[in-house]
């Protein structure tokens, strides 16, 4: 199948962010003062478990960030036409989930639709009943009798397979560790099981086991059932929840990337003082004094008006939704850089009086050199802590903003949009609860892991708490 690579704006920024992170890791590896706090983070059992969970969230988000347009099947005389539908690698991996849509709501693991329909039987009689689903549980002859056993059997088989993979991973990892430490395998195995290694590998392996088992189980069952039900238009909720991961992560990370250049104004203000300081302080007090939600709402409303008046600039729905997502990150960044800028200004005011900066001045170093080489590296820990701490708040903010109607585009799959659509069905009997459940579980796990992880990172980096 031929295709045309079609990166969206947010994709490019994600690649950029990834490159920055990798570069940072490579630099930090060689510098002891940067490695020390990270080593402390890596030694914490809680932090490692959370880190692994966050990486598990990162994987579908990255797969979902490689977009392309597949070629249409009927290529006419050598010229290849590309579909207007933009797909991602995750879409391809989850093709069965994406394409097997039902008519409307259906509960998790059910074989019947949520709403009654008039069905004509073979003998011509018309009855009102819950029709069978087109895909969910379609392989069952008599769902009422077979369903429980079928789910149990498939779950057991999937968990068994997952367990095997996990064992393989365990053996490979321990072998690798043993080879690196030049220890016999048995000895290393003993150390890992008893938790006598520097990095708590037993916790890593247990978390990895839980993640692998979940992936195996969901992969095996989502092929035969809608494991989290379907939504109003019959789309699989599990698929929607997976797609929402990217939205959540993009808002949580790119917003901070947007903040960085603005926050550097804080360094400038602290370094130059005088009128530069006055201007920067004036800008951030002004921005700060507008309630965040209102500023975001005003900006998004204006974007909507602009998009409505210039439909020609946005040719695909994906592009339109993507521009709105990017704009949301931008405006969230503009409302949230003020706190970081204030912190950086305060820290720079302190740093610029220190001996090493004075020495640099005496040696004739220019402003740019002093700021770039002496000040910015020494305030980076504040940037890092703020970045990690604000991540979970931003993920939560997305849900609220989407509820208000100034969040991501309604066509973008996000947890906020899921909650919003489920809220309208609260009064129905029986209740449509699976959309809420899916959004809750996915969001809660991500935010909890991020919160616990950021707590450890702050403890490791905050010099006030660190005892030397």
């Amino acid at each position: 199948m031929s295709f045309k690579f079609e990166p969206l704006w947010t994709d490019i920024l994600i690649y950029l962010l990834l490159a920055v992170v990798i570069a940072f890791i490579l630099i930090a590896r060689r510098r002891e003062h940067l490695r020390a706090p990270w080593r402390e983070v890596m030694r914490s059992k809680m932090a490692m478990a959370c880190l692994l969970l966050l990486l598990a969230y990162l994987a579908p988000a990255l797969l979902d960030s490689i977009h392309f347009r597949p070629a249409l099947a009927d290529a006419n005389n050598g010229r290849v036409d590309y579909s207007t539908e933009v797909l991602s690698v995750l879409d391809v991996v989850a093709t069965p989930l994406r394409t097997r849509a039902e008519k409307t709501y259906s509960a998790p693991f059910t074989a019947y639709l949520y709403a009654k329909e008039t069905v004509t039987r073979a003998d011509g009689a018309q009855v009102r009943e819950f029709p069978r689903l087109q895909f969910g549980g379609a392989h069952l002859q008599n769902p009422a009798a077979e369903r429980g056993g079928d789910i149990l059997l498939r779950s057991l088989r999937a968990l068994l397979a997952g367990g095997m993979i996990w064992l393989l991973v365990c053996v490979l990892l321990i072998a690798l560790l043993a080879w690196r430490a030049k220890n016999p395998f048995r000895l290393m195995f003993d150390d890992v099981v008893r938790g006598r290694t520097g990095i708590p590998w037993h916790v890593v392996l247990c978390t990895a086991g839980a993640i692998i088992l979940f992936i195996a189980w969901s992969a095996a069952l989502s092929g035969y059932y809608h494991i989290l039900g379907t939504d109003k238009v019959g789309q699989d909720v599990f698929y929607a929840a997976l797609k929402s991961i990217r939205t959540g992560l993009v808002i949580g990370t790119l917003t901070t990337l947007v903040t960085l250049p603005f926050a550097m104004l804080g360094v400038l203000a602290g370094y130059f003082r005088g009128w530069v300081d006055d201007i920067v302080q004036y800008i951030y007090t002004t921005l700060n004094s507008i309630p965040d939600v209102l500023l975001i709402a005003a900006a998004i409303l204006m974007l909507q008006v602009h998009m409505a008046n210039h439909p020609d600039q946005f040719d695909t729905i994906a592009l339109r939704a993507d521009v709105r997502l990017l704009f949301l990150c931008l405006i969230l960044g503009i409302t949230s850089w003020t706190g970081l800028a204030r912190l950086l200004r305060g820290e720079t005011l302190k740093l610029r009086e220190l001996d090493y900066v004075q020495a640099a001045v005496a040696l004739g170093a220019g402003h740019a050199v002093i700021i770039w080489r002496h000040l910015i590296p020494n305030v980076m820990h504040i940037v890092l802590i703020t970045m990690v701490l604000s991540f979970s708040g931003l993920v939560l903010a997305e849900a609220v903003l989407s509820y208000v109607g100034v969040g991501v585009d309604p066509s973008t799959m996000s947890w906020g949009n899921m909650i919003n659509s489920a809220r309208l069905e609260m009064a129905r009997e029986p209740m449509v609860w699976w959309l809420l459940l899916a959004a809750f579980v996915f969001m809660f796990t991500l935010v909890l892991a991020a919160n616990l992880f950021s707590d450890k990172v702050r403890d490791a980096f905050d010099p006030r708490l660190r005892k030397l």
Binding site: I290, A297, V305, H306, S392, V404, G405, I419, M426
Partner: protein
């Protein structure tokens, strides 16, 4: 003192002008009034007459900054900038799309907002401080550890789920209170109870953690060591000495948000059908009523600056060591 207040109030003026310019640019320059009219009336098949009528109804049919057609002072006063933006300084908010006066709506809707926001703040503060004291008292023990973890878990749940869960459990399942609605006076209690409970629980996790840190910071200070050296019990140290001193940052932190309580909570009010300023704002956003959003942006920043001023003043009242110069 009075000189200080006057000077701080004067400082606020450039900031408000900045806010005013920003909203002006956002609402009138980025998209011209024509664009807004078209977005409102439907982009396709809208006649120029309809646009002109829409603009005339709202007073948007004037030049942006300088009116060349008018004479004398009219060059400046007969413009959108003067009539729509500068008028905000006199709290002339104009009319909403439905023709009602925005100023009148704000003063009427303020009270339901306060009826929710004030109890939420007071009860929330009391509960959070009590739990934080408890954790600080048992610091380093398993109570402290698991209390901290519970706080993080509570912080990790989106506020929307607290509302939905509260409505489902208390309103739908147990039938204790109506799911939504509002009534002024004593009968309003049953409507207010649920939003307040949900609001308190939603803010508890972060509140407890913040105050616990404040208490622990105070516990490391010299006067605490002196108190202990005098032979005071740990309970006495914590509940009289530390609590009193820690109240300074806690209360001054609260003073900042006092004025903004008038704006109410966007989400709580719209979920529970409270006719306050929060739901007014949300409705305006969803109906794309630019006049209301603009008025609320301005009002919000005025209240925020008022909060900053009150904070500085309250510092001197609570802590005599701070002198305003």
């Amino acid at each position: 003192m009075i000189a200080y207040i006057v000077r701080r109030t004067l400082y606020a003026i450039p900031i408000l002008i900045g806010v005013n310019l920003l909203t002006f640019v956002l609402f009138f320059v980025v998209n011209s009034p024509d664009d807004m009219a078209r977005a409102h009336l439907g982009v396709k098949r809208v006649t120029q007459e309809a646009i002109e009528k829409w603009k005339a109804e709202r007073g948007y049919d004037k030049p942006l900054i300088i009116n060349e057609g008018a004479a004398g002072v009219g060059k400046i006063t007969g413009t959108i900038f003067f009539e729509k933006s500068l008028a905000l300084f006199a709290f002339e908010f104009g009319r909403a799309d439905d023709g009602r006066s925005i100023g009148g709506e704000i003063s009427a809707r303020m009270w339901p907002s306060l009826a929710i926001a004030v109890p939420t703040l007071v009860i929330g503060l009391g509960v959070a401080i009590s739990f934080a004291l408890l954790l600080a008292f048992f610091r380093g023990s398993y109570i402290d550890l698991w209390g901290g973890v519970t706080c993080i878990i509570m912080m990790s749940v989106s506020g929307l789920f607290y509302i939905i869960g509260g409505q489902y459990l208390i309103g739908k399942l147990w039938h204790l209170v109506p799911i939504s609605g509002y009534d002024a006076g004593v009968y309003g209690f049953k409507f207010i109870a649920l939003p307040v409970v949900v609001g308190v629980i939603g803010g508890l996790g972060s509140g407890i953690r913040l105050y616990r840190t404040l208490f622990l910071e105070e516990l490391g200070k010299d006067y605490v060591r002196t108190a202990r050296a005098k032979g005071l019990s740990e309970r006495r140290v914590l509940f009289t000495h530390v609590l009193k001193n820690a109240m300074i940052p806690i209360l001054t932190g609260v003073v900042v948000i006092l004025p903004t309580l008038f704006l109410g909570s966007l989400i709580l009010e719209s979920f529970f059908g409270i006719p306050g300023l929060g739901s007014y704002t949300i409705d305006a956003i969803q109906a794309q009523d630019f006049a209301i959003v603009r008025a609320m942006v301005f009002l919000g920043s005025v209240l925020y600056i008022l909060g900053l001023l009150l904070t500085d003043i309250s510092y001197t009242l609570v802590d005599p060591r701070v002198r305003l110069t």
